[in-house]
């Protein structure tokens, strides 16, 4: 089999002089990513959202949790640019601070899931055999229960929901997909000659996992982690909507929207629900765009978009 023409193409011409800076695969991926305008814009949008949420105290003096009896469901005013909600809490402050929670939930659930998924996926994919079949059976079983049903059942057993618990429950119920993806990637890597090569020089398992597997699996890992985060933000809002999310007074975008479960607010107070709705939409959209950009950057052959 001869190397196919695509690959020849990506090879730098032999006769290019040395001044051509050599690029690591990561830099190359970055370059490809940078060429995806939508993804780059999304990075900036997401960064902007993160910054805005981080510096929330600088953008408003109001306390997002403070209820004010005299300000129930008021429309926008100078003091409260997005009006107030049914408890007289300031929507603008809640929007800013709520983003923190939504993003923290998204990020930490993602990292937690990643930790579980990468560990189990690596074990299964690297060691195969018994370890693999045990872990795979576990994922099969987890996948058998609809995610939300499992989460809700657990929540029914617990009666207080805190952010930490929320994140934990999400992570503990959603690791199987990632585990499978990582395992799959590992299994295909395992058969690759460079891994055999590393074993041939006597590299330890640890070294093989960290130096050879993870860097080569980083593409799918990062891409899936990104997309997962988007999903978690949506899940948080969905659970808030049905009353199982993080409860008021803690502001989250999800519980802000859930106020719009009422025609009165839907109709008369668009300023109360459109901003958090848009915030979720934009955040999730940018995360998805970034995820997609990353996918294309790490795996230029994939045509998915």
């Amino acid at each position: 089999m001869l190397p196919n023409s695509h690959e020849t193409l990506s090879t730098q011409p032999e006769n290019t002089p040395d001044e051509q800076k050599s690029r690591s695969p990561f830099k190359l991926a970055l370059r490809r990513f940078m060429r995806n305008k939508l993804a780059v814009i999304s990075v900036f949008v997401l960064l902007a959202i993160i910054i805005i949420c981080t510096i929330a105290p600088l953008l408003t003096d109001l306390d997002p949790e403070r209820a004010d009896l005299l300000l129930i469901e008021k429309g926008p005013s100078e003091e409260h640019i997005l009006g107030t909600n049914g408890q007289g809490q300031d929507n603008y402050a809640r929007l800013l601070y709520g983003g923190r929670i939504s993003l923290i939930v998204g990020f930490s659930a993602m990292f937690f899931t990643l930790a579980i998924g990468v560990t189990l996926g690596s074990l299964a994919g690297y060691y195969g055999k018994k370890v693999d079949s045990v872990i795979m059976r576990a994922t099969d079983i987890m996948l058998m229960l609809p995610f939300l049903v499992l989460v809700l059942t657990i929540m029914a057993l617990i009666d207080k929901v805190t952010i930490g618990l929320f994140v934990t429950i999400i992570a503990l119920t959603s690791w199987p997909n990632l585990t499978r993806i990582i395992r799959g990637t590992y299994l295909s890597l395992r058969e690759q000659e460079f891994v055999l090569g590393a074993r041939a020089i006597g590299a330890s398992d640890f070294r093989i996992i960290f130096k050879h597997f993870i860097p080569n699996a980083i593409g799918p890992i990062v891409v899936n982690a990104t997309l997962m985060m988007a999903v978690y933000i949506i899940i948080e809002s969905g659970l808030s909507f049905i009353g199982f999310g993080i409860p008021n007074p803690t502001p989250t975008w999800g519980n802000m929207i859930s106020e719009a479960q009422n025609i009165r607010i839907l109709r008369n107070h668009p300023e109360a629900w459109i901003p958090p709705g848009l915030a979720i939409l934009i955040t999730v959209l940018s995360i998805n765009f970034i995820g997609d950009g990353l996918r294309d950057a790490f795996d230029p052959k994939s045509k998915a978009r």
């Binding site: 089999m1 001869l2 190397p3 023409s5 020849t8 193409l9 090879t11 011409p13 032999e14 006769n15």
Partner: protein
């Protein structure tokens, strides 16, 4: 040479328009003719434009590729003037093609029989039953003793050699005037390769087809071809009969190729490698495309690309050495 050629290609240019405004000139001005009953071989290293030439003839070039210039005459008609619909009547019927990878060239979800019959029904307008009989006949013809069973088997149930036979059966089902075989044996073991190539040679005789045999194996050329085109960098660098190519090699590239070939017959300690590698199609050197690797390079080679010179009867070379 009194016969009218089956196929004559003139000035064919097929370019790929890549990102970053790069243009890969995969095929860049290729002329040749194929006569009835003749096997014309195209040899060249990977990336020299062999496959693109053949796909251009079939008009199977996909985006971002485009045939930008030239004519491709099948007997009298210029294929480039045909509509997509007209081409479907020609493909598989007048010109058939087989590909390098027998593993992936057959649709995995349909039986061999189905895929062969499909072609027959399409072009011969036979009934299903007749098409079936014909397909079984073809399979027998290409050396399947159990043709009937194979009809109902799926590609994955056959070995590489068998699949390639099935491909051949499919391609000759409409007795094409021209068969394009793009590295039909490269992926196969030598013993199987010999079977397949001999089969092709037999078919050719039987059906009096012309074959355009694409390969990078000079041995295959020596054994099966009548005439040879050597391609480099999307252009023909030497064209002649098979005897001359091995005995009166002109172009330094062809010489290089021959020298780098380890041989069963001769013993040699060192192979005469060509230095460097094939330049990518989007970044050819300015002058002669072989100039970067040529042992006889001269100053003028860097500035202008030589024309294909006729240096004898039936011998053309693209090199300033023979001007």
């Amino acid at each position: 040479m009194t016969q009218k050629p089956v196929l004559s290609v003139e000035g064919l240019k097929t370019y790929f328009y890549l990102d970053d405004n790069l243009v890969a000139k995969a095929v860049d001005g290729v002329d040749f003719t194929v006569n009835p009953g003749e096997t014309l071989a195209i040899v060249g290293e990977s990336g020299s434009g062999k496959s693109i030439t053949s796909l251009s003839i079939m008009q199977l070039i996909n985006k971002p590729g485009k045939i930008v210039d030239g004519t491709i005459n099948l007997e009298e008609e210029n294929l480039l003037d045909k509509t997509g619909k007209q081409m479907t009547k020609i493909r598989g019927n007048d010109i058939a093609m087989i590909f390098q990878e027998p593993m992936t060239a057959l649709n995995p979800v349909y039986t061999i029989g189905n895929q062969i019959m499909e072609t027959i029904i399409k072009h011969k307008k036979l009934s299903k039953k007749n098409a079936r009989e014909k397909a079984i006949e073809l399979l027998n013809f290409v050396g399947f003793p159990r043709a009937k069973d194979v009809m109902n088997e799926y590609p994955h149930q056959l070995s590489g050699g068998m699949r390639q036979r099935a491909m051949i059966a499919m391609s000759i089902s409409c007795e094409p005037k021209l068969l394009i075989a793009d590295e039909p044996s490269t992926a196969l073991d030598v013993t199987i390769q010999a079977q397949i190539l001999d089969l092709l040679a037999d078919m050719k005789k039987e059906l009096n087809m012309a074959i355009l045999l694409i390969t990078h194996d000079l041995g295959v050329v020596a054994e099966y071809a009548d005439r040879v085109l050597v391609m480099y960098g999307g252009q023909i660098v030497e064209e002649t009969s098979v005897e001359q190519i091995f005995e009166d090699t002109k172009h330094p590239y062809t010489t290089g190729l021959l020298n780098s070939l380890p041989s069963l017959e001769k013993d040699m300690t060192r192979l005469g490698a060509i230095k460097g590698t094939v330049p990518p199609a989007h970044n050819f050197p300015k002058g002669c495309r072989f100039s970067t690797r040529c042992p006889h390079v001269m100053d003028r080679c860097y500035t202008a690309n030589p024309e294909l010179l006729e240096i004898g009867s039936d011998h053309k070379v693209r090199c300033y050495l023979y001007e």
